[in-house]
């Protein structure tokens, strides 16, 4: 059966660079999505995607039920806030700490306590015949329900759809590659609720007006996705099994492999007419549009050597990462290759696909570059990372800019392989930041250093 399921997926090529990372997914790969453990409080940010704050509809001390609208979105692409679980509003001026792009950000939020017991993830009955909705009605529907893109950079789904329509995207790709070790949230969602994910993909595809729908999955796990083959054929979704190599799931590479379109340096996928979503966004879109269930939860992988019992959990947004992991000891938010160190009090946000406690190597000091060239060989952006490291050390900003530093996708491979333990990814990030400050900017701006 394995082989047969595999044959029902198309194969595509690959790209230069990349690496087969140790997988480390076994601990959670077969774990069904379970309800998250009970927690005492939830803190929901009023502006999960940044921008203007939502206007609270509740006041402190009020009792709310699960799925109740807590705040009304404002601004261009409003996001409504819904209660993930029944409980009591403690405050509408709490501080929520959620992961933004590249760092955790503190923003005002609504705090809930005295929560009802956590709910498991159940398939909801479809109440709306979404297939009969017009495109504009679909788009209007996607603007509600607290729907976001569920991935970095986080933005309201409606705004993202609008941009994709404006850029005339003809391809919509559901990216369930999950190349990073430990992370299996998207895999479990696809394996257990694959039909709903496919329907969600079809909904978003119809809203965008995409002619081709693609589902990109990892070649290794295709036999777990048998249940979605029927719906995928019904909605004309091309099923594509790609190599396990990391970072096949990175947007520029995925778009390049699947459509042969190369994104210009610094552009978004929509600029080349390809929209990329992930399984969580598809699933949330289906549940809201068809079943009327707002996006208040997401699947989060809890794993790592320092976690006693890992798994995939249907986690309410706003739950503390420490409470979810059951430990507060050096947690990682997101995958281990591109994730962030989890500060105390960090809450699960829409982009949280994993909370990990991995056995990290002891921090060792780095030694000089020996020019082994592994970073350069494996760089999926084909940057000469060793030369960029020289540019960083010698502050040769102009040379770094001309070498195309901004094409770096920050996948972390160079730091991962470096035998001299140089923080190469971070150094290239620094270079990118310095380049973004504009031509003529000195590398040591604000640090009082030399040029």
């Amino acid at each position: 059966m394995n082989r047969i399921a595999g044959m029902l997926f198309d194969r595509y090529g690959t790209f230069a660079g990349g690496i087969d990372l140790p997988d480390e997914k076994r601990a959670t790969l077969g774990e069904p999505i379970a309800a998250a453990r009970a927690c005492e409080r939830l803190v929901l940010p009023l502006a999960p995607c940044g921008g203007s704050l939502a206007r609270p509809l509740v006041s402190a001390g009020q009792l709310v039920s699960a799925g109740q609208k807590l705040a009304e979105g404002t601004g261009d692409n409003p996001i409504d806030i819904y209660a993930p679980a029944g409980g009591r509003v403690v405050s509408v001026q709490a501080q929520a700490l959620t992961a933004g792009k590249g760092e955790f950000v503190l923003s005002p939020g609504i705090e809930l306590a005295d929560l009802a017991d956590p709910t498991p993830l159940l398939s909801a009955p479809s109440v709306t015949e979404w297939a009969k909705l017009s495109r504009s009605n679909l788009r209007a529907a996607l603007a509600g329900g607290g729907l976001t893109t569920f991935r970095n950079p986080l933005e309201p789904l409606a705004g993202w759809v609008e941009r994709a329509v404006r850029k005339d995207c003809d391809v919509l790709i559901a990216n369930v590659m999950e190349g990073q070790p430990y992370v299996t949230a998207g895999h479990r969602l696809l394996a257990e609720h694959g039909e709903d994910v496919i329907r969600g993909l079809a909904i978003i595809g119809r809203a965008i007006g995409a002619r081709r729908l693609m589902l990109a999955v990892d070649r290794r796990w295709t036999d777990d996705y048998r249940s979605l083959i029927g719906p995928a054929q019904a909605y004309k979704v091309a099923r594509i099994a790609l190599t396990h190599k990391y970072p096949t799931g990175a947007d520029p590479l995925l778009v390049k492999v699947l459509t042969r379109r190369q994104m210009p340096v610094g552009a978004a996928t929509t600029d080349v007419g390809a929209a990329v979503v992930n399984a969580s966004a598809c699933f949330a879109a289906y549940r809201w549009v068809a079943c009327g269930q707002p996006a208040t939860h997401r699947v989060v992988t809890v794993s790592g050597e320092r976690i006693a019992k890992g798994g995939n959990f249907w986690t309410p947004l706003g739950m503390s990462c420490q409470a979810l992991a059951g430990t507060d000891d050096r947690l990682i938010h997101g995958g281990p290759m591109v994730g962030l160190r989890c500060p105390a009090g960090a809450a699960v946000g829409a982009t949280t696909d994993a909370v990990l406690a991995v056995a990290e190597a002891p921090a060792s000091s780095s030694t000089p570059c020996i020019r082994c060239g592994w970073c350069t060989d494996l760089c999926p952006s084909r940057l000469n990372v060793a030369a960029l490291n020289d540019d960083f050390e010698l502050s040769l900003l102009d040379h770094a800019r001309r070498s195309g530093t901004v094409a770096c996708i920050e996948c972390g491979i160079c730091s991962y392989v470096c035998p001299a333990r140089l923080p190469l990814t971070r150094r290239v990030q620094e270079l990118k930041k310095a380049i973004a400050r504009g031509p003529g900017a000195t590398f040591l701006d604000g640090h009082g250093g030399r040029r």
């Binding site: 190597a361 060989d377 060793a386 050390e393 392989v417």
Partner: protein, 413 residues
């Protein structure tokens, strides 16, 4: 609340304290460290060394021991006296010591490896700033230094080779000239000696290509009863002996099979990119196949042959080219010396250019200049060009337009 980054970029090349104390993604790390790279390369280099110990006797082991010990001690003394931190110095120094021993002949006096080690470590490595900073392969620099400083010791007219019945235990300095040496296999040691004194195959080939001796055809057909062929073969071992290394030369230079196997292991470990040795060897092969040579004709007339590969038919030409590759140190240079990480270009394309350059220079030096160590000199010459190759070879980055890529390629740095 974010982990705000207030660190300033480091003044030195090494990680600033902030980089070490604030771990950031990726939180995982591959196991392999610089030390592992050097120690595994050292272990791989021990394979040709073992072949050398078997073929050239216990003196090879002595040379290797002196070489490794002096490299490590000189490294230590240098960093102790200059009070600079020796990062990863010892493993690299030990590896350099073994590589240096591979290039030296087994019969050299005890002070030769020491002099070579001084040049390798101090001039080749330490004054550039140690591991990761040098321009020339340190072991080759040491070898070049002794070749220049001690020409009589390092390049005698005839070189000793242990007899088959004196393998390993024989003393290679107890050597005698024999008149009727045709091949090594089955030939017992001359009375009162352990080794034969022979002409190096590269010398014989040099004499052949300069039109000084013998018949070209005899390379492939030594049993042709032309008389001249016999004379040539008196000094040139059969090609199978060249493969397993029963020919005079440096300790680790001769045994082609072991060098290739150890080199393939390094390629498998990703310490050597296959492009570099392949480009080196193929280019050398191609140059030997087409570079004009002078041959003695039937009536002692000297004629210039423009395509040695096809001059007398493919069979003879093929044998000639293989002799050119297997005689001397080319294979060791291709698999162990040229791929030294710090002194070769970083990108794959740059390494191909580097390998091609090495192959061309090595073969031209061998054919027309008659220096004692042509392949090593070729590697050193290309090492000099490494920064330039790194600067000009730049692949098109992801998402870069072809036009802007080509424009950027026309610019120097």
């Amino acid at each position: 609340m974010a982990e705000h980054d207030t660190q300033s970029p480091p003044a030195s090349g090494h990680a600033s304290p902030a980089e070490a104390t604030q771990p950031r993604a990726p939180f995982l790390h591959a196991m392999e460290g610089v030390r592992t790279i050097y120690l595994v390369t050292l272990a791989a280099a021990c394979a040709p060394l073992a072949a050398g110990v078997i073929l050239f006797g216990w003196r090879s082991l002595l040379v290797a021991a002196i070489s490794v010990a002096s490299c490590v001690l000189i490294e230590k003394a240098y960093y102790r006296s200059t009070r600079t931190p020796a990062l990863l110095g010892r493993s690299h120094a030990a590896m350099t010591g073994v590589l240096l021993a591979l290039t030296l002949p087994a019969f050299v006096p005890w002070y030769v490896p020491i002099i070579a080690a001084v040049f390798a470590i101090v001039v080749g490595k330490a004054i550039f700033g140690g591991v990761g900073h040098f321009l020339w392969q340190p072991a080759l620099l040491g070898r070049l230094a002794v070749a220049v400083l001690l020409p009589a010791t390092m390049n005698p007219t005839s070189w000793p080779l242990l007899a088959q019945n004196r393998l390993m235990v024989g003393d290679i300095t107890r050597a005698q000239q024999v008149d009727d040496y045709r091949q090594w296999r089955g030939r017992p040691a001359p009375a009162g000696a352990d080794a034969f004194l022979l002409t190096r195959p590269s010398e014989t080939l040099a004499a052949l290509t300069a039109g000084e001796t013998a018949e070209y055809r005899a390379l492939a057909y030594p049993d042709d009863d032309s008389g001249a062929g016999g004379q040539l073969l008196m000094r040139l071992p059969p090609i199978n002996e060249m493969l397993y290394g029963a020919t005079p030369g440096g300790i680790g230079e001769t045994c082609a099979i072991v060098i290739v196997i150890a080199g393939l292991y390094l390629i498998y470990r990703n310490y050597v990119k296959w492009q570099l040795p392949l480009a080196f060897i193929l280019t050398a092969w191609a140059v030997a196949a087409v570079a004009p040579i002078q041959l003695t004709g039937p009536a002692d007339s000297i004629r210039t042959v423009w395509w040695p590969l096809l001059a007398e038919g493919g069979d003879v030409g093929f044998t000639y080219v293989n002799y050119q590759l297997l005689s001397g140190e080319l294979l060791l240079a291709a698999f162990f010396m040229a791929p030294e990480m710090t002194s070769r270009p970083v990108t794959s394309g740059g390494q191909v250019i580097f390998g091609i350059g090495c192959g061309i220079i090595a073969m031209l030096l061998k054919l027309y200049v008659h220096v004692p160590i042509p392949s090593y000199m070729a590697v050193l010459a290309m090492n000099t060009l490494t920064p330039a190759i790194d600067a000009i070879w730049r692949p098109r980055v992801l998402g870069q337009r072809r036009i802007s890529y080509l424009k950027s390629r026309l610019r120097w740095r």
